[in-house]
């Protein structure tokens, strides 16, 4: 259920642009090759101002971009991955990605305000082992939902994942029912559950907590699908539509409520939260 995407070229491009950003002055859009000044790119929320290509974001970067300044309080930051199967090279990959991202696993959860409305928020990070869902991600998603039920808060999840983390074997597969069961409880509590797909949202994550939101949005161009290219190719050779497994394809087939460009995400979330009966005043009173 776990796939890594995008082929060598785009992976290289993503790595290159990530490398180029900290000290470089400019970066080249991997989609349209436009030369983009880093300062301009940052100001444009890391969206190419020529073609609209949405760069992948780190979890903390996205949180800063999405929530009201200074309102994010992280939860469960003490959870760390373990290696229950002693799977080949798993521990070293975890160490590598911890060093690379500064994160302890592939999702950051907490509480924050969006447009003055308090929510429980979870943001996945593809840079940490392809955003794959193992024990830590599953546990954090469930704890976030349970915390929301206790505090009667809405849940907003930004997904980015290759799927289940195969290095944790069956234990990672079980994060699928575990998160869906928590989502069922959230639903029963009458609380809103809003999901925003970001590039990519695949396999075991798409086939679990990502797909059971009350509202499901997606960033444009995000890869969203069940079987990754490498697994798909192995399973069968079929003619695929050009935009196969893109957000636009999923919208066309009724799987996504709306495609939302990055700069509109905050306002859409605020609007939906208000529709669900949450607003600034109410939270201030509480």
């Amino acid at each position: 259920m776990t796939q890594w995407f995008g082929g060598k070229a785009s992976r290289k491009a993503a790595r290159k642009s990530a490398d180029a950003l900290p000290d470089g002055l400019w970066t080249k859009c991997p989609k349209c090759n436009e030369i983009l000044f880093n300062k301009e790119l940052e100001k444009n929320l890391r969206v190419c101002n020529k073609c609209g290509y949405h760069y992948r974001l780190g979890a903390l970067e996205r949180i800063n971009m999405t929530v009201d300044d200074g309102t994010f309080i992280e939860m469960d930051s003490d959870l760390l991955p373990s290696d229950p199967l002693e799977f080949p090279e798993y521990a070293s990959k975890v160490n590598r990605d911890t060093a690379k991202t500064g994160l302890s696993d592939a999702i950051v959860t907490g509480t924050a305000d969006i447009g003055g409305i308090k929510v429980v928020i979870g943001v996945a990070d593809f840079a940490f082992m392809g955003g794959s869902m193992g024990g830590v991600v599953g546990e954090k998603v469930v704890r976030a939902m349970e915390a929301a039920i206790d505090a009667k808060l809405p849940v907003v999840m930004f997904t980015a994942s290759g799927g289940a983390r195969m290095q944790e074997g069956l234990l990672s597969l079980m994060q699928m029912p575990k998160t869906c069961a928590a989502a069922a409880r959230l639903n029963k509590a009458g609380l809103p559950y809003i999901v925003v797909f970001t590039d990519p949202t695949m396999a075991g994550v798409l086939a679990s907590y990502a797909s059971v939101g009350d509202f499901i949005f997606s960033e444009p161009g995000a890869l969203v699908g069940f079987a990754g290219q490498r697994v798909g190719q192995q399973a069968q050779v079929v003619r695929q539509p050009e935009n196969f497994q893109r957000a636009e394809f999923q919208l066309e087939h009724g799987m996504i409520d709306r495609i939302v460009p990055r700069r509109e995400v905050r306002s859409i979330l605020t609007k939906v939260l208000q529709f669900c009966g949450f607003d600034k005043e109410e939270n201030d009173a509480a």
């Binding site: 003490d78 760390l80 469930v142 994060q175 069961a181 798409l206 797909s211 399973a235 394809f249 799987m255």
Partner: protein, 329 residues
């Protein structure tokens, strides 16, 4: 070429040779009238010793091959043997009837149950008809529909899992295979009736767990249950799908491993040499396990049942906490 050569695994070949010898002697003596019962008994003893020896040392890859054995009993083979009556119910009322996902109302020793399971095909034509046991969105939606009926009328649900994976065709993607699996798990997590899920052969990742959220989850001894097929894992990790053997080791996909990891509640023993060598006995073991667990589950109130089901999956997963690490350091 003898007709069954293609369906004999490499490690089964010495057994198959003895089986052939025994069959040959029986055939000859049937014609000649000669008494060679002692010879036959000796050969059978040899064969059973060999079986025990081989099956005591199976690797996870051997088990993978056994779980996919072309002679392995499939969902409907077991259904025929454990139910005194079975009436198939078709369709998801939305799009189609999925032949890879079967189900219907059944009776087991007079107890009415709703039965759902993935079905593989035996010969080429049948395999295509069953889409190799890979269910599409309509299969999971049919399963959900049947389970809803079961809850409505207070009947327990029995799910038989036997799938390499859910269907990953363009059509399945268009109709929301991910949503169907996710919704099915969410639905099962709150279904107000007992659910027993049994992995019969291949428990293939999302395709399996899509009907695998049970109050009890059982595995046949030589079945496998995995987050990804070993070949797929090898293709991703080592870019080499032929390294399935190594991946099968690393993924811990056998029934013993799943029991140790706390994923399943019980391993159902198979006859020596695997379920295909004595389907009746395998079915009897399966039936008595299901009956035992159903009897236990039916004593629980619905709220207790749902609480236990939530906690069962809630507890699954491995992680450490930083505090604990510091304490142990």
């Amino acid at each position: 070429m003898p007709p069954n050569t293609w369906s004999v695994l490499d490690f089964e070949k010495p057994i198959a040779e003895l089986d052939d010898q025994i069959a040959e002697i029986k055939r000859i003596t049937a014609v000649s009238g000669e008494d060679r019962t002692e010879d036959i008994a000796a050969l059978e003893t040899d064969r059973d010793r060999l079986l025990a020896e081989i099956f005591a040392n199976l690797t996870p890859w051997d088990k993978t091959l056994l779980a996919r054995h072309p002679k392995r009993p499939y969902t409907l083979d077991y259904a025929r043997l454990i139910f005194d009556d079975y009436t198939e119910i078709h369709g998801d009322r939305l799009f189609a009837d999925d032949h890879a996902m079967v189900g219907g109302i059944a009776s087991m020793d007079g107890r009415m149950v709703m039965f759902v399971g993935q079905q593989k095909g035996r010969d080429l034509k049948d395999r295509q008809y069953r889409n190799f046991g890979s269910a599409k969105p309509e299969g999971y939606r049919k399963a959900m529909r049947l389970m809803t009926l079961a809850a409505k009328f207070g009947r327990p649900v029995i799910c038989f899992v036997d799938t390499p994976a859910a269907d990953c065709s363009v059509g399945a993607e268009e109709r929301g295979i991910s949503e169907a699996i996710a919704r099915s798990m969410m639905h099962m997590s709150t279904l107000e009736t007992p659910i027993i899920a049994v992995v019969l052969g291949e428990g293939g990742s999302g395709g399996a767990i899509g009907i695998g959220v049970g109050d009890r989850v059982l595995m046949m001894e030589h079945s496998i249950y995995s987050v990804i097929p070993p070949e797929g894992c090898a293709a991703i990790l080592w870019r080499d799908p032929t390294k399935g053997k190594e991946a099968a080791e690393a993924l811990q996909i056998t029934s013993d491993a799943a029991l140790k990891l706390g994923i399943i509640d019980e391993v159902i023993p198979e006859p020596l040499g695997g379920a295909h060598r004595n389907v009746d006995l395998a079915a009897r073991n399966l039936k008595s396990a299901i009956t035992k667990h159903l009897n236990e589950l039916e004593k629980l109130s619905i709220s207790k049942l749902l609480d236990q089901r939530y906690r069962k999956f809630r507890c699954m997963g491995a992680y450490r906490s930083r505090q604990a690490v510091e304490v142990s350091a």
